[in-house]
Amino acid sequence: MPQHKSTPQLMEINLGPQHPATHGVLRIVLTLDGERVVKAVPHLGYLHRGVEKIVEDLEYFQIPPILDRMDYVANLNNELSYVMGVEKLAGLKVPERAEYIRVILLEFNRIMSHFAWFGPFTNDLGLFGTAFLYGLREREYIQRLFERTTGARMHYNYFTYGGLRHDIPEGFVEEARHLANRLPAVIDEFEYMVEENEIFRLRTIGIGPMDGKTALNFGASGPFLRASGIPIDLRKDEPYSVYDRFDFKVCSASGGDCFARYKVRMDEMRESVKIIQQALDQMPDGPVRAKTTRHLKLPKGEVYMRTEHARGEFGAYIVSDGGVRPYRLKLRSPSLSNLMASCVLLPGMVLPDLIATVASVDIVLGCTDR
């Protein structure tokens, strides 16, 4: 039978900004041939709030709450790069106890973020609601700990240069330990829920594969990069805070497809639990905040501080002119690079695979657009 050769009429269609599967307000202009994607042009900026400009008018102590609003799923991870950069420029020494509390909260935050990824991902695959709410349920337990600790539900504003805003509340350690002990079983449950499912496997294995070299060239980072078989994890490679004192392994997977990305995140949560348990065991007593002034003046200079965010490398490039406000604060968002990398995968895919691939990248548009 001769194949149809004449040029097909292509359909140009907006996917987003108001679409159930674009995780906020990503807009991709698709050119479709039937359901096959011929061209995919992402348009960003629908959540652009000018964070980098706003912070230039703020003093150093006022900035963390703005950063909380960037990646609204892993907020504390956003704050860290910035406060560590300020500490480095100012030469502040953070008390040990604060470092440990930071690590505990950061890892919990990472787990929360991965839970908040897992749910929507299965939702985008069409498992409507079920796993989504399981993810959110577990997130909620951790969220309560955060609320009790920081006093806020989303925009914690808990890290500050020199340590933490205030000490952890009564019973924090017990509750954190209880949560950490509970989590491995929960993660097993999640894996059991989806991994044994043939349709889930059919929809994820081999979908949207990215090889390590391309991912690296595109500046991808985090679980997205590690799923492509490149075990780069800043917690291990360039240890910051007290991460060099913990025993954990960098999770990576080969294949670089949606399933690998899922698997890496699941494994990573287990490692996070390990870190939390170790940190809880080693946590010393003492103050949680170094002596600093409110209107801190940083010496003239610049620093690029990067930390391993839940989504990848989160960088804060602070340029100081010696005043009380940053001269320039550039925020390197992991979502941006990962999204950029994933966008080269899209042409040639079919629509459902495109949705699965974009969902597997774990973008948060607040972080991408800033």
Partner: protein, 342 residues
């Protein structure tokens, strides 16, 4: 009176089915809620949100009805009726016991299959007429599914027809001294899968595909017109779940309890299966769906027919050999498929 009688029966039946549908909706809310580890509706009507479906219907009635400017207005208006009327017509052919039925059609099987596929036609019409690209993609998918799942559904039933040598649903049930699920496990499985596809239930809800096509063919439909599509789907569920009970599960046969009770026990068993499968599996991709339909279900249904026909003709007491060989093939095939998919 004789002229008015069918109309009254039809009205009574529609209202009866509708009240059941209200219960379906509530049950689905609660089941999908409990499966997802939450309560589902709890407020409306005080007791476990029993009035939630009614509130939903009221909401549909109150919604503004918008027909997009560049829609094909006539087809846009007609499409919900094309989906709704045939499934109401199907009700005329479905018996509930050997005493409670509307009419005993001698080609009832044919009739039900033919009319229940109108759902797809309405989707294609509605999706195309909306003048929207998402609905158009949904319509493509609906058309593809219509083509691919009509065949396995029909062929799966052919085996049953061969066993009972009649096309009347009452005749088929009366013939089932042994339930057909025992004699026709392959046919039953194919029927159940094809049925889910016909009903647009997850994992085959591709024409709607919330996370991909927003709402598929029904993107532009709002208010009561949209609700009519939903009603049509629920009526279709009623028809096909009844068919599953009548063809494979022995209809009203069962010990101790009256036939009508047995019928509805089995019917709600099928409904529970559908409700649970909807919330426990992700959606398949269109090409996977087509592959399943053409490359697995269709050949299996043909194999089923060949085995059934051969054994009926060649073996005098064919029931036991038929059951054994069908189950053997089924288990072997499922094992092989699992091996391949792993």
């Amino acid at each position: 009176m004789a002229i008015a009688r069918p109309f009254l029966i039809a009205l009574a039946l529609v209202i009866f089915v509708l009240s059941n549908i209200v219960f379906f909706m509530w049950a689905e809310f609660k089941i999908s809620g409990r499966v997802a580890d939450r309560l589902g509706p709890m407020e409306t009507g005080r007791f476990h949100g029993w009035a939630q479906p009614l509130a939903d219907i009221l909401k549909f009635l109150n919604k503004e009805d918008i027909i997009p400017a560049n829609a094909d207005k006539l087809i846009f208006r007609v499409a919900p009726f094309v989906g709704f009327i045939p499934v109401v017509m199907v009700l005329a052919a479905i018996p509930y016991t050997n005493k409670i039925f509307v009419r005993d059609f001698d080609i009832a099987v044919f009739f039900v299959i033919a009319l229940s596929s109108f759902t797809f036609v309405s989707m294609v019409m509605g999706g195309w007429a909306s003048g929207n690209k998402y609905s158009l993609l949904g319509a493509f998918r609906a058309a593809g599914m219509l083509l691919s799942y009509e065949l396995p559904l029909g062929l799966a039933i052919a085996g049953v027809v061969m066993l009972s040598a009649t096309l009347s649903l009452i005749g088929i049930v009366q013939h089932q001294t042994v339930w057909n699920i025992v004699l026709q496990p392959i046919g039953f499985l194919v029927f159940m899968v094809a049925m889910q596809a016909e009903l647009q239930r997850s994992p085959f809800d591709l024409a709607v595909a919330e996370s991909e096509l927003v709402a598929g063919y029904s993107v532009e439909y709002s208010g009561m017109r949209y609700a009519m599509f939903q009603l049509g789907e629920f009526f279709g569920l009623w028809a096909l779940a009844s068919m599953a009970v009548l063809l494979f599960l022995g209809g009203w046969h069962g010990p101790y309890l009256p036939g009508i009770v047995w019928f509805f026990i089995k019917f709600y068993g099928i409904f529970l299966f559908l409700a649970f499968s909807r919330v426990s599996v992700p959606r398949v991709r269109p090409d996977q769906l087509m592959d399943l339909g053409w490359k697995i279900l269709l050949p299996s249904a043909l194999v089923n027919i060949v085995i059934t026909a051969t054994l009926i003709v060649l073996v005098p007491h064919y029931q036991l050999p038929l059951a054994i060989s069908e189950f053997a093939i089924l288990i072997g095939a499922l094992y092989l498929m699992r091996r391949v998919l792993k």
